[in-house]
Symmetry: C2
Subunit: 199 residues, 2 copies
DNA sequence: GCGGGAAGTGGAACGTGTTTCAACGGGGAC
DNA sequence: GTCCCCGTTGAAACACGTTCCACTTCCCGC
């Protein structure tokens, strides 16, 4: 029963996604994941160090889809603010299309397990990459309203922080989808204005 | 054994604090909390709905101390940026004085349990209150660099989001104390500049 | 005093994440 | 073909959050 390497890992991730879509974090019971993936529990723990490890992998998988999507359908908008607004609106809507899954993956990322630091860091890097890509017009070279590479990076990182915190707030029932988008929009606008005045 | 109302709850919280200071979130085992507080496990669950509920109460308790501290020793600085910088530096240092405790409380807040929404919201409100208080000079009336009440509120909320996300990142081993302070400082500076140019 | 209800107690029990282990099996080295 | 390595399996066991329950204790109104 050898087949492709990582083929079991993929089955495990897919099973976790299926279970998370239906019932969120708590519904991803590892015994269920194992049986759904037609794998022994021990195998799950050979491939992943913990439940959160699996769900961070799920997050990674979803971000990949997101990147492909953005590649296919670039962000529209004339200035940075509107580009960021539409990007985050799309992003958040994509997240909310499967709320339970988003909650499960987000909770795993927010748990803050140091053992997953590098994987979570990778997620944040990819997110800031996406955000940075939304600021600079994809077709043009560096026409980002006169922002330097460093400035774009700073902006992207701060926005990812605001977005992340807003999602955690949503997860905890503090506010809804629209509030998340609104917070990020406000932050985008203010930060961009602040940067523009810096030079 | 009735004594003061909530006296058991206070013992439970203090026990949780003691345990959390030593070993963080995982060390707060409810059986240990109960025995340390000289209380039955059932009593713990009569007062608090979950482990996270206890730790959010701990968070609340710590924020109260923070408020008292700020009241006693007001923020210094001439302009908004430097006031915010020194405020967040103090705030973050206070948090890091007991890293394990901070990790435990933070993890509870970041777990996103909807049952705790109102309590977590209260925490965020108090934090934004503190931040807003740091922006406007305490002695003066409304000299906040020409910012309206709404603007101050927006600023405070966004900064609390950035700070929260940075702490979660710290908790997960993504970066250290200095990076947390630096991120918030950058955000303060940019957001303030953005707001100043808005009017 | 007395009765009743609220709060507390001690302990068992359950679910689920995590660990451990003995046995199995298939594929490559020889 | 035989043997060994190593991933897999199935199952048991453990830890800890959470629930439940029968019993006790305390307080309050009468």
């Amino acid at each position: 029963m050898k087949s492709a390497p990582g083929e079991r890992a993929r089955r495990i991730i897919n099973s976790a996604i299926a279970l998370a879509e239906e019932g969120g974090f708590e519904a991803v019971r590892l015994r269920d994941v194992a049986s759904h993936a037609k794998v022994a529990l021990g195998t799950v723990y050979k491939r992943f160090s913990s439940k959160e490890d699996i769900l961070v992998a799920v997050l990674d998988h979803e971000v990949e889809r997101l990147e492909a999507w953005v590649r296919l359908q670039p962000i529209e908008g004339d200035d940075g603010v509107s580009r960021l607004a539409s990007f985050f609106a799309r992003l958040t809507e994509a997240f909310f299309r499967k709320p339970k899954l988003a909650q499960a993956a987000l909770r795993a990322a927010a748990a803050g397990d140091p053992a997953l630091a590098s994987k979570v860091a990778r997620f944040h890097e990819r997110m800031t990459g996406l955000i940075a890509g939304a600021v600079v017009a994809s077709g043009l070279d560096v026409e980002a309203g006169g922002l330097s590479e460093d400035q774009v990076q700073t902006l992207a990182y701060l926005l990812s922080q605001v977005w992340f915190a807003a999602l955690v707030g949503w997860m905890g029932g503090l506010f809804d989808q629209e509030a998340v988008i609104e917070q990020v929009r406000t932050a985008s606008s203010l930060l961009l204005r602040g940067l523009a005045r810096q030079t």
